[in-house]
């Protein structure tokens, strides 16, 4: 079984976002970038399935600017066999990403596609489901457990009410929740080895996908600031304020 894993390069989750003064977006120059956290879970799961003898090859793919190569390289360092970078500049909406991935799937013919459930930059939560629709494959979103069966997967999903288990035929798309596994760190020898693994570079236009945005971003602004609070001197004062001033208890 061959697994394609899609990974996205995003601003590191520990970085305080700054909105550009002209309102056109957030500052990304000289900002630490990392793999989108749940994409790390997606890679980890694929590598674990390979180690368990259930997958034969793990291919990591990213869509983005040249530097997204680092994100692919990181996936190789934790165990993916080879990488693909689809170069595309500017804002690439999930619909365009899913069209690009559709072309990659048609070429690579994986049995499974894994990716994180949501990217922590645009917070769209769309790409996996859109790719499943375009391929007419089943989708198992927000997966916290994956069990490989003969020609299907049994997937436990994190839903608002608790957990749901579904069975999806292979080929399938799985979007991964943070609870799926504990992503490993790349060891230094593996980081060195990853430098020798191949990354194929193509462009979105090679694949014939129009990436022009359909959503016009009018402005990006800071969230409304909270008005400054007060320090209370004692627990008694705190309880009195909550009861009589804020009226929340």
């Amino acid at each position: 079984m061959k697994i394609l894993v899609a990974v996205k390069r995003v601003i590191d989750y520990n970085v305080q976002i700054r909105v550009k003064e002209d309102g056109t977006g957030v500052v990304t120059d000289n900002v630490k970038m990392s793999t989108n956290p749940p994409d790390d879970n997606a890679i980890e799961e694929a590598v674990k399935l390979k180690e368990a003898g259930k997958a034969t090859e793990v291919v990591a793919v990213s869509v983005g600017e040249e530097k997204a190569q680092e994100t692919v390289r990181k996936a190789l360092a934790v165990g993916a066999d080879r990488g693909i970078l689809v170069k595309a500049d500017g804002v690439i909406e999930p619909l365009a990403v899913s069209k690009i991935l559709q072309k990659v799937v048609e070429k690579e013919k994986p049995d499974l596609v894994f990716m994180g459930k949501q990217a922590i930059d645009d917070d769209c939560n769309q790409t996996g489901q859109m790719l499943a629709a375009l391929l007419n494959w089943p989708q198992a979103t927000f997966a916290s457990k994956i069990e490989v069966k003969d020609k299907s997967l049994e997937v436990t999903r994190e839903i608002d009410e608790g957990l749901e288990t579904i069975e999806v035929n292979v080929p399938a798309i799985v979007t991964c929740d943070l609870r799926l596994n504990e992503p490993r760190y790349a060891s230094l020898p593996n980081i060195m080895k990853a430098k020798k693994k191949p990354i194929e570079q193509i462009t979105a236009s090679d694949l014939g996908v129009d990436t022009k945005p359909r959503i016009e971003q009018i402005k990006v602004e800071e969230p409304p600031k909270r008005k400054a609070g007060i320090k209370v001197a004692s627990v008694e004062e705190l309880v009195q304020k909550l009861k009589n001033e804020a009226k929340v208890i």
Binding site: I215, E222, L242, A246
Partner: protein
């Protein structure tokens, strides 16, 4: 053109967030039609028809919809989509699973998780877990939009009498199969919707010490949250995690105990109406978002806090 809203329900009653989505939908366009895909779900269609904001209910009653599967739902929605200007549903796990599948088949770029309707094609939505807000305008012919339920008041539940018509089922999909649902049964409110959340951080020092949090949460009928640091340290399971990589919560009262206030945690709770921080480090960033800050040792403050709560005659539930 009208707006089509997809209801979330369990074949007996609709889920409460459907009402928040209906009220957001009627801000976009008053002609709101609600699609109920269910099995033996007459009571759902009936109760939705009584919501005054709803102008028409399309009820598809078919065993195909006994359980919710995005593959089956999508086909039914697509059959109706061309006669609508907007397709909307809640941005919870139900809608997040469904809407992109619909949007991709319509070749539409979806607008996710809106918190405000600015115009029928223009919306406000949080990005970077609410650390920034984007105003976006959809240029697609049909607009596929998911709605953050906690940003809109629920629509009233009575006074309306919308027409209920029977709709056609979509194609049956063989791609996926429902197996089971395990609902978390807890006397405690759910983290995402609780009125009060009490959260502990690394300052709790151990899982055992979370019993101090539990005692206060019991008293306030609150959900229990945690920072990523507390989860990573193994004090509590990660379904309690509040933050950019956990749950985003907007309770009336959020009490952060022994939480320093890392950016990724603040992203998950700073929209709460009232924030309390209890921390012995007076310089901790959590105090910058707190309405009421108490600089104190939590191991003394929490038992004292419980004691003071016990003295109150009444506590809101």
């Amino acid at each position: 053109m009208s707006i089509l809203l997809i209801a979330e329900h369990n074949n007996k009653e609709f889920k409460p967030f459907t009402l928040n989505a209906i009220s957001a939908a009627s801000q976009i366009n008053e002609d709101v039609h609600v699609l109920v895909l269910g099995s033996n779900s007459d009571s759902v269609a009936k109760s939705i028809s009584e919501v005054p904001n709803v102008k028409k209910v399309i009820h598809v009653n078919n065993s195909l919809y006994e359980n919710y599967l995005a593959e089956n739902y999508t086909s039914a929605v697509i059959k109706l989509a061309e006669s609508y200007s907007h397709i909307v549903c809640s941005a919870n796990t139900f809608g997040k699973n469904l809407m992109p599948r619909v949007a991709a088949l319509l070749d539409v770029s979806q607008v996710s998780d809106i918190t405000k309707v600015i115009a029928e094609d223009t919306f406000l939505r949080p990005i970077y877990a609410g650390n920034a807000f984007a105003t976006v305008k959809s240029t697609d012919k049909i607009k596929c939009v998911t709605i953050r339920p906690t940003s809109f008041d629920p629509a009233p539940t009575s006074g309306g009498s919308a027409e209920i018509i029977n709709g056609d089922p979509g194609d049956a999909s063989e791609l996926s199969k429902f197996i089971k649902k395990e609902e978390i049964k807890s006397d405690r409110p759910e983290l995402g919707t609780a009125r009060v959340v009490v959260s502990g951080g690394r300052g709790m020092q151990s899982g055992e010490n979370f019993k101090l949090i539990t005692a206060v949460a019991d008293k306030l009928n609150a959900a229990i949250g945690a920072s990523r640091a507390a989860v990573d340290a193994g004090y509590i399971t990660n379904d309690h995690q509040v933050g950019q990589t956990g749950k985003v919560v907007v309770p009336d009262l959020y009490i952060a105990v022994g939480i320093s206030g890392a950016i990724q945690h603040l992203a998950g709770m700073k929209e709460s109406k009232v924030i309390v921080a209890i921390n012995k480090d007076g310089e901790a960033p959590i105090f910058s978002v707190a309405d009421y800050g108490l600089e104190a040792d939590l191991f003394e403050a929490l038992p004292k806090f419980l004691e003071e709560l016990n003295k109150l005659n009444t506590i809101q539930k």
